[in-house]
């Protein structure tokens, strides 16, 4: 039962990844791409946790920590670049 739950959440994350990737590739504007990039990062944080469960290794959660604390930095830099504040 629990396993099925995690399988389903992995599939949902995969679909979300695909949808935001479409926005990334089509997005006419730079800002669309930046937002899509941020969404993909956040989805991959949850994906890492799911992978850690499926592989039965709790040590993989540390990688998600690094993602979660650092991923917003790149987006902030791009935003500052676009508004000429860097």
């Amino acid at each position: 039962m629990g396993n099925m739950l995690f399988l389903a959440s992995a599939l949902i994350a995969l679909v979300a990844l695909g949808v935001s990737a479409i926005r990334f590739f089509r997005g006419p504007d730079t800002l669309d791409r930046v937002v899509a990039f941020d969404v993909i990062t956040i989805i991959s944080i949850s994906l890492i946790a799911i992978i850690g469960f499926i592989m039965q290794r709790s040590v993989l959660i540390d990688v998600a920590l690094v993602y979660a604390l650092l991923s917003f930095l790149g987006v902030i830099i791009i935003a500052k670049y676009v508004e000429r504040g860097l």
Partner: protein, 120 residues
Amino acid sequence: MNIGSIAMGAGFLLVLIGLWGILTRTHIIQIIVSFSVVDTGVHLIMVAAGYMHQRTAPIISEGLAASDAPSLVVDPLPQALVLTAIVIGLGVTALMLAFALRIHEKNDTLEIKNIERLRW
């Protein structure tokens, strides 16, 4: 067709895409971006060379005892090499960007077509 060979194929394709970019682009920043794509592809190939089917990460914790490590872990050696290669890759990229800034300072452009000494 397991994960290892897919990863190796993807790495080869990444190297090819990046090489194509290096050879055909004319803007220096885009050449450096293509170089970093090649970098990622090479790292992917190296990690894929150490992957083994249905084995787990080389870290001894509650899920893995030290005694059955040899039959359960993937090859840790390529991972250790890639670890240093990524850091060096950042250093190389930064150095290339510093050179790009120097070129821009001197010629006021980064388009190779407009720089006499870089045209080929």
